[in-house]
């Protein structure tokens, strides 16, 4: 049946529409406000003292480790570093210890990277996460619905949720100390760092600084600044003596997160535009087909009726004609008979004068 095939055609058609806009979205341009601020973490200088963790707790009014949901040893206890930890709703930053492939112990600080094109902000369906031109990606607790799509989206596993809160559960992550920046202060963690492992400043300057360090100590660093290009770049940058992957930093490529979904979102316009036309057409065809079928049927019926009528008339005519002929013949027969009779009588009665008179024309002879 022809109609059933349309179901499979639809799937083929949608393929085209969803693919169309994806082709144009490849070029990743590194953008960002020139004045945007950032922090550089240098693992070659980091001693894993956890002073940044302590400062972060302090400036953000977070509970002390013994009051955590899963209590932890105080910040002075470095045995904590033996475990791989991540941020959560009570820890906006953690320092982790890694053993590199060549056997070195390297520390890396971990917190929100304040991406230039944040996946979390692009994913938030209520704009509760916003990238500011100053640098921080800030969170608006009054808007957050708690869908946690930002947590799905963040490639660094940064945002955390307060699952145990029934009344006002929220997303928590490093704020880059946005309130302090607004007052002209550096982030708490940077201020409390006893070495130069944390540097704060304009992102462009930090890139310069990082390049200068790599150039000055070629053997000390792996020649790559993590965060310079990762998914559009981040405001927090990293230098490391070992490949960044060995410090648990994911390989991400250059395509910014928003570009990954913009193709699919662009397809929406196409779907919204094409479907009505396509389906409307389909509907009209199906209607037309029904109508044509109806008309055809009507026509056929009419023709049939006409033919039948014509046939009937023909038979009638033939029957009439036959009857006519029969009648004619009968009359002719009668006439002939009558004539013969008359002739005989005439001959019998007036045999003597038969020679002078011709046959009289018979009356009522049928015309053909």
């Amino acid at each position: 049946m022809r109609r059933r095939k349309f179901l499979s055609l639809i799937s083929a058609g949608s393929l085209g529409t969803a693919l169309a806009p994806r082709t144009g979205t490849a070029a990743a341009t590194i953008s960002g406000h020139p004045e945007t601020l950032g922090v550089l973490h240098d693992s070659a200088l980091c001693i894993g003292c956890r002073k940044c963790e302590a400062a972060c707790r302090e400036v953000n009014n977070l509970p002390t480790p013994d009051k955590y949901k899963t209590p932890e040893k105080p910040f002075t206890d470095l045995s904590v570093l033996e475990r791989k930890r991540r941020t959560d709703f009570q820890r906006f930053t953690v320092v982790n210890k890694y053993r590199s492939k060549d056997g070195r112990t390297v520390f890396r600080k971990f917190q929100c990277n304040h991406c230039q094109e944040p996946a979390c902000a692009s994913a938030c369906f209520v704009r509760a996460l916003v990238k500011t031109p100053q640098g921080p990606v800030i969170y608006k607790p009054d808007l957050c619905v708690g869908c946690r799509y930002c947590m799905i989206a963040c490639p660094y596993y940064v945002p955390a949720y307060d699952y145990g809160n029934a009344g006002n559960p929220l997303v928590y992550k490093c704020t880059m100390c946005a309130p302090r920046l607004a007052r002209g202060q550096a982030p708490g963690c940077v201020e409390n760092c006893p070495t130069d492992a944390l540097a704060f400043g304009r992102r462009l300057d930090l890139l310069e600084l990082a390049r200068a360090r790599i150039a000055a100590h070629p053997g000390r660093y792996t020649p790559r600044i993590y965060g310079e290009q990762e998914m559009g770049g981040t405001n927090w940058l990293y230098l490391s003596p070992v490949p960044h992957e060995e410090l648990g930093q994911p390989r991400l490529g250059k395509i910014p997160a928003p570009e990954l979904t913009s193709g699919a979102l662009g397809a929406v316009a196409i779907v919204a535009g094409l479907w009505p036309a396509f389906l409307g057409g389909l509907y009209c065809i199906s209607r037309r087909r029904d109508k044509t079928a109806e008309q055809d049927a009507a026509l056929a019926a009419a023709t049939a009726r006409e033919t039948a009528e014509a046939e009937a008339q023909e038979t009638l005519r033939q029957a009439l004609a036959k009857a006519e002929k029969e009648k004619e013949a009968a009359i002719a027969r009668e006439v002939k008979k009558a004539r013969e009779e008359a002739a005989r009588e005439f001959e019998e009665k007036a045999a003597p004068q038969a020679k002078e008179e011709s046959t009289p024309p018979p009356a009522g002879e049928p015309s053909s």
Binding site: S8, V126, R127, L143, G146, Y149
Partner: protein, 393 residues
């Protein structure tokens, strides 16, 4: 009129006596208790969700599977109203009913899952995050639920005897159907597109720029299989509610959708493989994840597609119904694979998520609510039969 009242009475009695009702009552009671826990103790009280796994089975099953399996609504209305396949007329109302219930309960389930359900209207009315795929999903589901409510209201108006209101909606049939297809295309594919944003967290075999297409195409045969499956359930358990025509036309629907599903699944299989080829991910096939991927495609796409074709050729409704069941299982498997197996595949085994029993209980609670509501509606409303007072449309 008398016959109808009698039928209703017996239906009610049947409902009260069905042995499964003890189980139903148990699940509902348990669900209510967990509901109280969820909203007094928070998500941590009843789920195993954590910061690495912000989405658990309430998203995988209730949202992703729920929406895919409720696609029967647009599949049936499109076949009947737009393609003019009159055999499908009797399947429209049950499909619209279950789609409406499906979506309504998806939205209910989301109230359990999001942290602050009382703010669920924010993205629509207060602050629109238009760059978010989730925003599109939310908006489409919200509008589509309204469309389904309108489509379904015809049955309600028939029950109430409101002829004018009914006539007004019937006149909107075609625009509503077209709107339903547009919205379904958009949000079915967008559910897949949700995962586009996290390529680094997804296993390459399940991550593809095509994932929205995969989700949409699979929703087509998911919907058709659900219509077949629900039809067979109704034939078995709700026969008392059906009239002659609905029983008679059932087989035509089974064959029509069976054939269409078979073809669509074949196309789906090809584009899934094309997705692997495009990113040159063949090297992942000889791994554990690869075998699992092959199992999904071979056992739950290729096989049911073949069984459908066979069933249609042999005119074997039983085989088709089995194929429908297998397809539905395959859809569930696929959505779980994307959202829980492929997602976070690189995390260590001890970091992985397994649902808390109460999460499973809530999902069971939602499903039970849907089934119970469906049974009640079929008992009291002209869903599986035509109302003799109204012309069919």
């Amino acid at each position: 009129m008398n016959a109808t009242t009698d039928r209703k009475k017996t239906a009610l009695l049947e409902l009260l006596r069905t042995p499964g009702n003890i189980l139903t009552a148990f699940i509902l009671a348990l669900g209510l208790c967990i509901t109280v826990l969820r909203f007094t103790k928070g998500l941590a009280g009843v789920t195993n969700l954590n910061d690495n796994y912000p989405w658990g089975i309430w998203i995988s099953f209730d949202l992703l599977c729920g929406v895919a399996l409720a696609a029967g609504g647009y599949a049936a209305t499109t076949a009947c109203h737009l393609f003019g396949l009159k055999d499908f007329r009797t399947s429209v109302r049950p499909a619209v009913t279950s789609a409406f219930l499906g979506y309504a309960f998806v939205v209910l389930a989301l109230h359990y899952d999001v942290g602050q359900p009382w703010r669920l209207v924010y993205p629509i009315f207060l602050s629109q995050g238009t760059s978010s795929v989730l925003f599109e999903v939310g908006l489409c589901v919200f509008i589509y639920l309204s469309v389904l409510a309108l489509e379904w209201s015809i049955a309600v108006f028939e029950r109430l005897g409101w002829k004018k209101a009914r006539a007004r909606i019937v006149r909107l049939t075609i625009p509503l159907t077209v709107l339903g297809v547009i919205l379904s295309t958009m949000h079915q594919s967008s559910l897949g597109a949700l995962y586009l944003i996290a390529p680094s967290k997804m296993h390459p075999l399940w991550y593809s720029p095509f994932i929205p297409v995969f989700f949409f195409v699979s929703s087509i045969f998911a919907g058709m299989s659900m219509v077949i499956f629900e039809g067979s359930l109704a034939h078995r358990f709700l026969r008392g509610q059906m009239d002659e025509e609905h029983i008679r036309r059932g087989d035509a629907v089974v064959f029509g959708f069976g054939k269409a599903a078979s073809i669509t699944m074949l196309g789906y299989l090809l584009i899934r493989l094309y997705g692997v080829a495009l990113d040159d991910n063949w090297r992942f096939l000889p791994t554990g994840y690869g075998l699992w991927f092959i199992a999904e495609l071979a056992g739950f796409v290729a096989l049911p597609s073949f069984l459908y074709a066979l069933g249609v050729r042999e005119k074997n409704t039983r085989r088709i119904r089995f194929a429908a069941l297998l397809t539905i299982a395959g859809i569930v498997l696929n959505r779980f694979n994307v959202s829980l197996v492929a997602f976070n595949w690189q995390l260590a085994p001890e970091e992985k998520y397994f649902p808390h029993w109460m999460e499973i209980a809530v999902s069971a609670f939602i499903v039970t609510l849907i089934i119970t509501a469906y049974r009640l509606i079929c008992a009291y409303m002209p869903i599986l039969r035509d109302d003799p007072d109204f012309e069919t449309h």
